[in-house]
């Protein structure tokens, strides 16, 4: 029986690239939910812009992942849209953090809690900035090229998000409480950003890129300084662990995908 889902190559270099691509794609998807709903017009523009940059990064990475997969299997390369829209949930490899709703538990906020949103942006952009910087030394020239462009975007995203974290963390009592609540919920999703496995080991060995674990010191150091400046206190570490980067997600991703994939699924053979 035919199925329109595609199965990406499970070669480690493909998985390494897809993990990053999916991180960009799914965060872009969440940020785009803000279109037209931000607290001020400048933020409507900034969040849309960040989403756009992330989509651009995802496109480049998906195209490259498709080619890496094709080289591995001597097959035809999956294109960016097949990879973005036609995989099953189990084959998306983003860490769980980026698929969480823009408002985690916070009732009432539509499309989300701005505190949670800017704090997550600060975490992910700090992490991506560290990652892109290290990918400048990749043995894969295509990754070097992608990282060279992306690092500039990530630097802007990081600065913008960090400004908001400080502004809101050290703003009013209410804003500080909202930021602290967001931090308390989000913190336990961070360890997944610093895990490693055989995919990372391969990437290191092949000089493709860094093991995620090697980003921890830099990212957590920067987050620590930022939170201190914002007068926010990280909660104690917990034994909670997410597994999105291995394809086992939260219950949120399925809803993102049903919306995101709908047109591709409902109009097979469509040309857009």
């Amino acid at each position: 029986m035919s199925t329109p889902s595609v199965r990406p190559s499970t070669a480690p270099q493909v998985r390494y690239v897809l993990r990053i691509a999916d991180t960009c794609l799914i965060l872009a998807q969440r940020l785009s939910e803000w279109c037209g709903h931000a607290p001020i017009l400048e933020e409507d523009i900034a969040l849309t812009n960040m989403s756009l940059d992330l989509v651009g990064q995802a496109r480049a990475l998906f195209t490259h992942a498709g080619q890496l997969g094709a080289a591995e299997t001597q097959g035809v390369a999956l294109d960016e849209d097949q990879l973005a829209f036609l995989r099953e949930e189990r084959d998306y490899l983003n860490p769980t953090l980026v698929e969480l709703p823009n408002a985690f538990y916070r009732a009432g906020a539509q499309p989300g809690d701005f505190a949670f949103t800017v704090l997550r942006n600060a975490v992910v952009s700090t992490w991506l900035l560290a990652l892109w910087s290290r990918l400048a030394d990749s043995s894969d020239s295509e990754l070097v090229a992608i990282a060279g462009k992306a690092v500039k975007e990530a630097r802007y995203h990081q600065q913008h998000a960090a400004d908001w974290v400080v502004r809101l963390g050290d703003g009013t009592a209410d804003s500080a409480a909202r930021m602290q609540a967001a931090l308390n919920e989000m913190w336990r999703y961070l360890p997944e950003l610093f895990q490693d496995d055989e995919v990372d080991a391969f990437a290191v060995q092949a000089q493709l890129g860094p093991a995620w674990s090697s980003l921890k010191e830099e990212v957590m150091g920067q987050m620590g300084s930022l939170l201190a400046e914002a007068k926010l206190t990280p909660p104690p570490d917990s034994s909670f662990r997410t597994t999105g980067r291995n394809g086992i997600h939260s219950e949120h991703l399925g809803f993102i995908l049903s919306e995101m994939q709908y047109l591709q699924r409902a109009y097979p053979g469509g040309v857009w």
């Binding site: 279109c35 849309t48 849209d81």
Partner: protein, 311 residues
């Protein structure tokens, strides 16, 4: 009265009026109303398009849509800034929007129901907007004219992208996609014709605005110009415009078209269109739910002041 005469002379000479120049109160108010309404239209217009951004069918189309929405936010920014030169703050203008005192373009009170609506908004809605706006690039009020030059350039780009996305579906797409495009055109055509406003005979502001160079071409003339330009594009696209009375009039050198349902126009302008309440409610909610963010930003900025002075 000398100021008034000098102003009139400059207008008649086709000079531009700058923010620092003296201007009659009625001129100022008319412009403020028009520019703020235009700014509001840009930000309300983000909603029907934002409605499809999470469902865009390809990454390329998602990127194009995001970029377009971002541009519209930018247009809102320029236009609020241009209006602010006339003495009203952005917050005051937003308050007028949120309380229903200020209007925005009625076209955004129609829903986006399928993906082709996004392309159709680019092709027809932006197309109609450009027809309306190009003459404003020569508007007598310079800050508005300057904003419009930049906006029109970007709008033309959006229009081409919208048309292109429909063309791809019509030329290379499936039957279901073609039907989707036709369905979108069927729903948007008549509301787009209404975007040029009521017939000249019923239009209240036209004469004075013409005199001042705020408006340069009449509603009916713009509408005819839009129809004449669009019929041919529709033929290239391969869609049928939903007007059986549409036919070329050799004598007039224009396309004749059927009667516009002005009752619908007034109903939507009056607040009872398909999405009026939802659009406004979303803007109000975004503003209210964001209040704590704006307050915190202000509080933080105040905290920095003494530090800055001490340093």
């Amino acid at each position: 009265m000398q100021r008034q005469e000098r102003f009139d002379e400059r207008i008649d000479a086709g000079d531009f009026i700058e923010a620092k120049d003296w201007m009659p109160e009625h001129y100022r108010k008319t412009l403020l109303r028009q520019i703020s309404q235009h700014a509001h239209s840009e930000i309300v217009g983000m909603l029907p398009e934002g409605n499809w951004v999470t469902r865009a069918p390809t990454l390329k189309r998602k990127a194009i849509l995001l970029a377009k929405i971002q541009d519209e936010g930018g247009h809102g920014l320029y236009l609020y800034a241009a209006a602010e030169t006339l003495g009203q703050s952005r917050d005051q203008m937003l308050d007028a929007l949120h309380t229903g005192k200020a209007k925005y373009s009625s076209i955004f009170n129609y829903p986006t129901l399928n993906w082709a609506d996004i392309g159709t908004i680019g092709w027809l809605v932006d197309g109609a907007a450009i027809m309306n706006q190009v003459p404003i690039c020569r508007c007598s009020y310079a800050p508005y004219a300057r904003a419009m030059i930049r906006i029109c350039r970007e709008e033309s780009f959006h229009q081409r992208q919208g048309y292109d996305s429909l063309l791809v579906m019509m030329e290379k797409g499936t039957e279901a996609q073609k039907a989707m495009v036709q369905d979108a055109v069927n729903r948007w055509w008549w509301p787009c014709l209404m975007m040029f406003g009521p017939p000249d005979a019923e239009s209240t502001h036209t004469a004075q605005s013409m005199r001042w160079g705020i408006k340069r071409i009449s509603n009916d003339d713009l509408r005819q110009k839009f129809i004449d330009a669009t019929v041919q594009q529709a033929q290239v696209l391969g869609v049928t415009l939903p007007d059986p009375d549409l036919k070329w009039n050799e004598a007039r050198g224009h396309w004749d078209f059927g009667a516009i349902d002005w009752a619908e126009f007034w109903r939507v302008v009056g607040g009872e269109g398909p999405c009026n309440r939802e659009r406004l409610n979303k803007r109000v909610r975004a503003w209210e739910e964001g209040a704590w963010v704006r307050e915190a930003a202000l509080a933080h900025a105040r905290k920095q002041e003494p530090t800055a002075q001490a340093a």
